[in-house]
Symmetry: D3
């Protein structure tokens, strides 16, 4: 599947915190740094996520803000 979301950063799962409905997934980016995602618990199961698994952190560009010091 090819997706319109422009931001697809490769990395691997560094940590998982699974709640009743949602789950927090910390993705350690191949390029260094981290991205934190909040997805549904069901999606964690569907994708078979576990610490160390190769993943992509995906973000639609309209959801990205810019900041300056």
């Amino acid at each position: 599947m090819k997706l319109s979301a422009r931001n697809q950063l490769p990395g691997k799962v560094k940590a998982l915190n699974v709640g009743v409905v949602t789950a927090e997934v910390v993705v350690e980016l191949d390029g260094g740094g981290e991205l934190v995602a909040v997805i549904t618990k069901k999606s964690v199961e569907n994708l078979g996520l576990a610490v160390g698994k190769k993943v992509y952190a995906v973000v639609k560009s309209t959801e990205v803000m810019v900041a300056v010091d």
Copy 2:
């Protein structure tokens, strides 16, 4: 200002495409790779964005998805 959005990746502006209402900002990340943001034209002006400027790409974690091959 300290923000709840967990994802704040340092980089610099690589490209700007400004429309009537919105603008596309390509951020070259310090760690390598890029993030594309769509913000308002007004925000580009407010922040004084220009190619080469040091910025942060900021994303709320509920807006980050995860994908696997």
Copy 3:
């Protein structure tokens, strides 16, 4: 690519309105009804979107609201 976004509805492009930065894509759903997406102009080009093309409308579940009469 398998994505955490739970909502992936098949359909085809019914209409396209392309601006300077963003583009509006009307997707006629196979199940009837429509979904309107606003993505970047660049994404329209990357995906080769045109009227009649088979696509999926994809939405992260945290972005879906519920309403009642």
Copy 4:
């Protein structure tokens, strides 16, 4: 109330999974297929949601992505 969000798909509640803060609502669309929403537990109570209730799944168009095979 008439809302700017362009996507308002009729259906009924198929399943509910309520957590401490958020809740997952599976909406079976009248046109076939499903949409999964994550809203707050409080909203589930405010709207009196229960399995079988007629609802609309509502999505702002800037939150809809497009994908192709």
Copy 5:
């Protein structure tokens, strides 16, 4: 229509900037201050928005961040 989005702030349209696809709507809140919305041009037409019109600025709670000095 009763909506799950918890944030519905009354105000009136202070300014409109309409582009090819999207439009910026500045809402002067009854309680003081402003909220800026970016919706589609089509939605501006559908809702008959014009400066001075009574409106509500509506935001899903998962889209609201918190900041501290």
Copy 6:
């Protein structure tokens, strides 16, 4: 840090409901009325949020909808 998100409304924390992954923060706006945010539990801890604390409710303009009666 100066942020592209145009909506930054001052207020103070009125209520907190913390779950396993996410937390609901009710912000009483200085201008009257409330905004409800859903952020991660970790962000509540990082920002040291507690009832009565001075905060800003921050929203990207692409996430704001408009409604009319």
